[in-house]
């Protein structure tokens, strides 16, 4: 009797797990379809492989738990926005940690030599820091346009704005980044 109960239980578990699996199989399809693009954008935002893996995991975990396992209406938009937010949070955390560790890096007390200015890694890190400080609407556009290399129409669809607005936001973001990069040079 007990053996039968156990076997029925196992059968039931198996059936339920299969049902769930069928229900959420779209997550794996999404991973297959957009994974590569997502990795590219995360790599460009974070520039660190372990951070990329963590941000990617967080993104899909959030997707799997979206409204109790429901599929969002626009999956691509959801994962790109989530990945962007997760990556920027990680970047900010990293910046804060670095600032705490060595106050000299971003307080403006460091000496910027021409050789350092031309150093690719230094430039990349500076830009990443400034992108993380941009207002959200501008930051989203600049990361999707310049780092994910999506078209303005696609960006518009992802962010729920028009392509023209996305174009204006990118222009504004570039202006701000230019001013910030210029100020850094003056320090």
């Amino acid at each position: 009797m007990f053996g039968k109960t156990v076997s029925y239980g196992l059968l039931w578990d198996f059936a339920v797990s299969e049902a769930v699996s069928e229900d959420q199989r779209w997550i794996l399809s999404t991973m297959h379809k957009h994974g590569q693009a997502l990795i590219t954008v995360l790599w460009r935002i974070l520039g660190n492989e372990q951070d990329v893996c963590d941000a990617y995991q967080d993104t899909f975990l959030q997707l799997a738990h979206y409204e109790g396992g429901q599929r969002p209406e626009h999956v691509k938009a959801y994962i790109f926005r989530t990945a962007n937010n997760v990556a920027i949070s990680m970047l900010r955390r990293r910046m804060a940690e670095r600032k705490r560790m060595s106050k000299a890096i971003f307080t403006g007390k460091q000496v910027t030599t021409p050789a350092k200015e031309l150093d690719s890694k230094y430039l990349q890190e500076s830009l990443r820091c400034y992108i993380a400080q941009l207002p959200e609407h501008l930051r989203n556009v600049i990361t999707l346009r310049d780092l994910a290399e999506l078209s303005y129409a696609q960006i518009g669809r992802i962010l729920g704005i028009s392509a023209a607005t996305a174009r204006v936001y990118r222009c504004k973001a570039l202006q701000i980044l230019t001013v910030w990069m210029g100020k850094e040079e003056e320090k």
């Binding site: 797990s17 991973m31 994974g35 995991q57």
Partner: protein, 173 residues
């Protein structure tokens, strides 16, 4: 005017406008270059703008490891539900490697494809289009000149100069 024509015209005009604007207000515009050479503030701005562009290009040009997608997939699948982890697709995702896009893969054939398409288009034109029209045009012109000669110098001479079929032309030669 139909909606499609209106849209096409609008698109064309927008293209012209953007060309004209970039010609007159782009970074290569001569008046702007002249100004920049004399304005230290603009020089600084331009330098900073160049730095932003350089940094974006540097970020984009950094490649990541080939197995990054594989590692990220494996890590992400590891926290999903047990049923999903065991799915066949999950196994495939754990070993997947980045592949170039279809456009990138076939990009190298673009120029040769364009050449072949151009050749086919010329052949079609020769068969049905421009060249047959030119042939008709030539025949019509010949007819008119033959009529002119016939009215001025007589039918015999006109027939001699403009034979009606190819056989008579070869006889004449």
């Amino acid at each position: 005017m139909t909606g499609i024509n209106k849209n096409n015209k609008c698109r064309r005009i927008r293209g012209w406008l953007s060309d004209a604007i970039s010609r007159h207000f782009g970074l290569d515009a001569s008046w702007l270059q002249k100004h920049i050479t004399n304005c230290p503030r603009c020089q600084r701005r331009l330098l900073s703008y160049g730095k932003v562009n350089l940094a974006i290009s540097a970020i984009k040009s950094q490649p990541h490891k080939l197995d990054l997608l594989m590692c990220a997939n494996a890590q992400a699948i590891g926290v999903l539900k047990h049923s999903l982890r065991r799915a066949q697709k999950a196994k495939k995702l754990r070993t997947i490697r980045p592949e170039p896009k279809l456009r990138e893969r076939f990009g190298k054939y673009a120029s040769s494809t364009a050449n072949i398409a151009a050749c086919i288009a010329i052949m079609l034109l020769m068969k049905f289009g421009v060249f047959s029209s030119m042939d008709t045009f030539q025949t019509q012109g010949q007819k008119v000149i033959k009529q002119y000669y016939a009215s001025r110098a007589g039918d015999d001479l006109a027939d001699e100069i403009f034979p009606t079929d190819t056989n008579s032309l070869s006889n004449l030669i």
